[in-house]
Symmetry: C2
Subunit: 329 residues, 2 copies
């Protein structure tokens, strides 16, 4: 399916990678979609794609959007796209929330679901599979971000479900992590206590017209106030919104811009990009090593060593030494 | 503090590792505590400790206990220790829940908090630091489990907080993952929907005398009933308890025993031990590699490569190749 386009029944040979990249940079959504498919499917062309993208990536602001199901993440994402477009920015959306109406499909057909933006060539929407119900991000998320970045997206919104793994992982990938809460969720403040207070750069209290919204804001303000922050550190703002009507979404964008200015001025933007690149290189290297470990001397060296540890014939440290020695051969 | 004991003001030279291991196996809590400290502090003796433990570990049943704050994890853990002791088993407890009354301290002083079992030489209680508020397990958790296992614990209870990372990680470490719920928590069923249905081998509905407990059981039964299971697969039971009075805790132990029998009969026990050993070896090998990557040619090769990726001078795949090549030199 990736190697020809069905439009008009006309068959077309696969475009070369440099051609795809230049078309993506010109703003052709179909080329962007093809490139993401290539990285997502771990195509043999993956390395060539990444090499061709390298000189062009590194300017997008990556915004992670997380929160429990029901707080209005998709509506907020949609309203944010509208507002960011109003400011003239090219916008990418990666939906890794299995409950998002944007996610579920694998190809550009998803765009149809986001009616309002479906025909806007300056908006790329893409869903990605998560790693199971606990919501871990797909291994190819950093690569997909790189495609959207190189394609000239000024802002990339990554919508994740706020449970388990993905909210931890998104904080590692994003420049700005936005945590959504809403009144009447019951678990909102509980979740906040449990961990999201460490990851949010920006808190949005959505459904601000509903009973209890003020209480959520007060609770949140109280808890954020208790956090110790270094001199000059970013103090996460709390923004009330009614995403359904778009109310307050301009304030969210204003706070995003303020955060980006702080990231630049503090050197944190460069630090986050470097940390991300570090994590990405390391993950690729470890994946390559794991593939080799599973296949040294024609069978799984690692499995053999694991059985020896279970049998008490060796210990995990000695086994790790053997594994590394086998690899260095 | 680790190299002499304050008892009676008498200084003592550090015991040898083989001596510590044999004293731990004889059931001396102080030797067990010393060994756990050695692995937790990544002592230079760590490798010697692990090698000395290897022939003796591999028989304990590891039970992960997870659930939201407030469901009664610590009370249940305490009641389970009582019941398991009644059946004559030696019991270890690792508390990695920052909200647990068992955790917080670093040394054996914790035992005092668990008054009922403080003087029982067949019960080892140990708290471990978690990796931050999202509750990831400490890197040394598998090693600490190995100490308790080699010290002859028949059952090791690992109490973790049921948010974020730790509930995912405990499912990877445990033979049996026990998920606690309670009525009136609001987020109980929500949490259940979000992911715990994938990890539980045994569900405990605590505070079973309270309003709403039956509803929690019904909801849970309904959701578990929807899960597709292979022929012969384990069907997680739901056990109501009132941990405060001990009611139902004997049923929990009976279900644990039934699960252990199933693990043995199905071959899953061996498979889980092997998978754990595999993960442990791999984690140690990757940690060793990371240390080298951070220190090749006298400076951080990885940092240099990360900056090159950020600058667009190279891409992450080419950088990973360079990293592995530098290591193989």
């Amino acid at each position: 399916m990736e190697h020809h386009e069905p439009v008009g029944g006309r068959r077309r040979t696969a475009a070369s990678v440099p051609d795809l990249v230049s078309r993506a940079r010109e703003g052709q959504p179909r080329a962007v979609a093809r490139l993401i498919s290539l990285v997502e499917d771990a195509s043999p062309l993956l390395r060539e794609v990444m090499a061709a993208l390298a000189p062009h990536a590194g300017t997008a602001r990556i915004v992670g959007i997380t929160g429990s199901p029901g707080v209005g993440k998709s509506t907020t994402t949609n309203a944010l796209v509208t507002e960011l477009r109003r400011t003239g920015r090219r916008v990418g959306v990666l939906a890794v929330d299995p409950s998002s109406p944007f996610s579920g499909g694998a190809l550009l057909g998803d765009r149809i679901r986001m009616q309002e933006h479906a025909l806007d060539p300056e908006v790329y929407i893409r869903s990605m599979a998560s790693r199971g119900h606990l919501g871990g991000l797909s291994w190819s998320t950093p690569q997909a971000l790189r495609v959207l970045d190189a394609a000239g997206c000024d802002v990339i919104l990554v919508e994740t479900v706020g449970v388990g793994q993905s909210e931890v992982e998104i904080a590692g990938l994003a420049d700005t992590t936005m945590v959504l809460l809403a009144p009447g969720m019951g678990d909102g403040v509980q979740a906040a206590k449990a961990g999201i207070l460490e990851i949010g750069d920006l808190y949005v209290v959505n459904k601000a017209d509903r009973d209890g919204a003020d209480q959520v804001r007060r609770d949140l303000r109280g808890m954020l106030g208790l956090a110790e922050r270094r001199e000059g550190a970013w103090k996460p703002p709390i923004v009330p919104t009614i995403a359904q009507t778009g109310q307050g979404v301009d304030d969210v964008v204003a706070e995003l811009e303020r955060h980006w200015a702080w990231l630049d001025a503090s050197g944190e933007q460069q630090a986050r990009r470097t940390r991300r690149a570090r994590d990405e290189i390391e993950a690729i290297a470890v994946t390559a090593l794991r593939a080799r470990w599973g296949d040294v001397h024609g069978r799984s060296e690692l499995d053999t060593l694991a059985v020896a540890v279970v049998d008490g014939a060796t210990d995990p440290y000695a086994a790790a030494d053997e594994l590394l020695a086998a690899f260095a051969d």
